[in-house]
Symmetry: C2
Subunit: 332 residues, 2 copies
């Protein structure tokens, strides 16, 4: 028998004890004689025994893995969240499986299904839409923490005050002397896109400015197309509040293509910080979200929900954004 193929019955035979004793010994059950523990451990080592996680899960009805479902792996915002989740999950003895729903409800549903089927211990979900169907998880009583975007059903959640951040960013644009700020927003069915747009509207309305905005997918090409549309319009904006990093990539490419310099020809501020934001010319002003903390807080909520130490009702964590004014938004 190849090493690492042994099952519990083999170990039992090798150690001369029952399967039950092997199981208890290996799981540090207190009622096992120290002599037996030693014998079982030795036998297990000799055989290279590794428990079959599937069988264990089937019996225990749970695993020691968490699922983290995000909408875009290539967005630094979500990878920062991922690191936060991983760090606290690891401390708690859990592994995290990352699933990329890619802003696609069908893929999201598949992963929700996989999570339920694999009986993960808990799920952290950035829902594509508020209506995402998590009933399979609920049916299996798998705890859920919702992040980034709200879900219709009430769960523990970690959100960011996007609207306030967006409003502040737009105010900043106006304060800097830009007279016609527009908003390049994400898809109109994505909550974060909407609340950032709302924040923008709050600000322009307060100042009696026109509301100028366009919806586009959270991708670089979307940003480029939106920027082009706005700039080609009859009465183009002189400043842009951009909905996220991916959009910003496209927007800046388009500005570059047109020879427009940020801060001189057009004011730009974008949602989410990025590691390269200070390297471009001029440095990009941003509204930064505490991404890593979103991850750690979410994982903490999940872990104590799993432990059963959490209070009854849903807990809502709301984090603030930080505006980092650099040069792209400053008129000169």
């Amino acid at each position: 028998m190849p090493l690492g193929t042994a099952k519990i019955s083999d170990v039992a035979r090798e150690a001369g004890v029952s399967e039950a004793t092997v199981s208890r010994a290996l799981n540090n059950h207190p009622t096992v004689g120290p002599e037996f523990v030693k014998r079982v451990r030795a036998a297990a080592d000799r055989l290279g025994y590794r428990p079959n996680g599937i069988a264990r899960s089937l019996r225990r009805q749970t695993t020691n893995v968490l699922a983290l479902i995000i909408t875009d792996v290539s967005n630094p915002f979500f990878t920062a969240i991922t690191r936060g989740v991983e760090d606290v999950a690891q401390l708690g003895g859990y592994s995290v499986l990352l699933c990329n729903s890619d802003e696609d409800s069908a893929k999201e549903a598949t992963y929700l299904d996989v999570a339920a089927q694999q009986q993960v211990a808990g799920v952290i979900l950035a829902p594509h839409q508020a209506g995402s169907d998590v009933s399979r998880l609920s049916a299996a009583s798998i705890p859920i923490v919702v992040i980034d975007r709200p879900l219709d059903e009430p769960f523990d959640s970690v959100m960011v005050q996007s609207r306030e951040g967006a409003r502040a960013a737009t105010e900043h644009l106006i304060d800097s002397g830009w007279a016609r700020p527009a908003c390049i927003s994400g898809p109109d069915d994505v909550a974060t896109a909407e609340s950032r747009l709302e924040g923008y509207r709050d600000a322009v309305r307060a100042h009696g400015f026109d509301e100028i905005f366009v919806h586009t997918p959270f991708r670089a090409e979307g940003g480029a197309a939106a920027a082009a549309e706005l700039l080609d319009s009859a009465n183009p904006p002189d400043a842009l509040f951009v909905g996220n990093t991916q959009l910003a990539l496209g927007v800046m490419t388009e500005l570059q293509r047109r020879g427009l310099e940020m801060g001189r020809d057009i004011g730009v501020i974008t949602f989410d910080d990025a590691p390269w934001a200070t390297l471009i010319d001029p440095p990009l002003s941003v509204v930064s979200q505490p991404a890593y903390e979103i991850g750690t807080r979410a994982a903490e909520l999940l872990l104590d929900r799993m432990k059963g130490t959490a209070p009854e009702g849903p807990r809502a964590v709301s984090l603030e954004t930080t505006m980092r004014v650099r040069e792209s938004s400053i008129r000169h």
Copy 2:
């Protein structure tokens, strides 16, 4: 009984057939009467039946999920690979679980263990080191495809001709008139870092130049520290070949801090393209790897290995890099 909690025995009762028939009907087994299929489907729908993946896996000894283990989720290179893997996996009806080993052998080992325990159908692995222990997967005869970095044991693999790419990049630096190119390389125990360094050495040796290099972790801080060290040395380099995107982020930050302009004061070319490479000033020259294709090819190899349609021995795919000369490497 809450919806979605039904098990196969419930469906059998509801449909008035045996469990065996339910199983066969739901799995499109050809030997089931069409009348029965209809009845079973209806009963399953009524009860909101969803098969328990764990139980199925235990019996079938496999799942329809793949694991993709990468070393750094926040590196765009790996997220591009991820998209490639996901796209072909989905076509084949598989979900992919992404695991971030974070350049840490212990985490990697944990995920390898999880993969084996969860009995994933296959694994695509970017090993931290050539000695990574995949014996648990082999013992469970789970197919493996190795990407990005070699493994001591022979498996299907998709690699990139890093050394050639690195050599070409360094030659380009030299051809552009830089007289003292140095290399900022990754950790000396990471194969890609080593082969890029080798490529650099090939080039400088061929020209009789000094070999100047420093090893540092694949992180922005590592890049910054390495750049500082080199620039502060007695005889500093006038050009830099940088090992990857994360390092480049740090290197450029350090150059900026010192007021050094790429292309004018120092020549820079880096391994891996990044979405923001054209947005910085001056645009960054890079050696681009076909990341998305690495992902698709790896998944293809894995899928037909799983189907059993692959030839006996390991297949090795070797992809080429593309140099994209922009301005940071051009002397002016």
